[in-house]
Subunit: 135 residues, 2 copies
């Protein structure tokens, strides 16, 4: 074998994977597999739903994507190169505000440290009613 075992095989370059990756690059926010599939279909790219799921699974395994689970149970994907931030979501109209804030990050760190946890990730969702919907 001519490989270095420390490096995993790279996924093959296919039209479908490129399409999924490209869409995720263009799309800055969390999006579901179903929606990705629909968007690709409506923009002419023929990609099977199963392939979308498999591509996403790959990218998640490779650490290229962040995932969260929506309230309805759908998994949402986002390219994780984008700066880490959290969302403030209106539960009525769906308006989303990005929150960049180091406080939570520090909090998560300190909690982890206090309990000797390593390699921590955190996930924060704040849901409420925006001014417009509160009235």
């Amino acid at each position: 074998m001519t490989n270095d075992r420390s490096l995993r095989a790279m996924p093959r370059r296919t039209r479908q994977r490129e399409a999924v990756a490209e869409l995720l690059t263009r799309h800055p926010d969390f999006i579901s597999a179903q929606r990705i599939h629909a968007l690709l279909a409506s923009s002419g790219a023929q990609v099977g739903l199963a392939t979308v799921y498999r591509s996403l699974a790959q990218m998640v395994a490779d650490g290229l994507l962040d995932t969260i689970v929506s309230d309805s149970g759908e998994v949402l994907y986002r390219q994780c190169s984008s700066a880490h931030h959290h969302h403030l979501v209106c539960r009525s109209c769906g308006t989303t505000v990005e929150v960049h804030d180091t406080q939570v990050e520090q909090w998560a760190e300190s909690v982890a440290r206090a309990h000797d946890f390593a390699d921590v990730q955190h996930r924060v969702e704040v849901v409420g009613l925006c001014q417009a919907c509160a009235s």
Copy 2:
């Protein structure tokens, strides 16, 4: 009609609902509907799965339960009388540490206020590797 429309009808008292409520009272942490159903079954109480789901939906609507969605997409329920806290979870062995901390609460409040959001809830998960699993 003899009712005051401001009060919603109270759910009827049935063996099944009591069983579900009682189990949730005994169980201090988040638990899935499926698991509730299984536990009830194995402890002799005959409660249909659909009934478990409907009972839970009721209690959620009545504000008696908190819910979160697990990574696998299952909805987890918890009696919300218990003090609000967050979990620090080991992604390897599943060990869970309850974190009582006012910092995050305050952070969520301030973020909400800064964006004129009302009636906010928040959900925080910190996942990492505990000391034992990190070695």
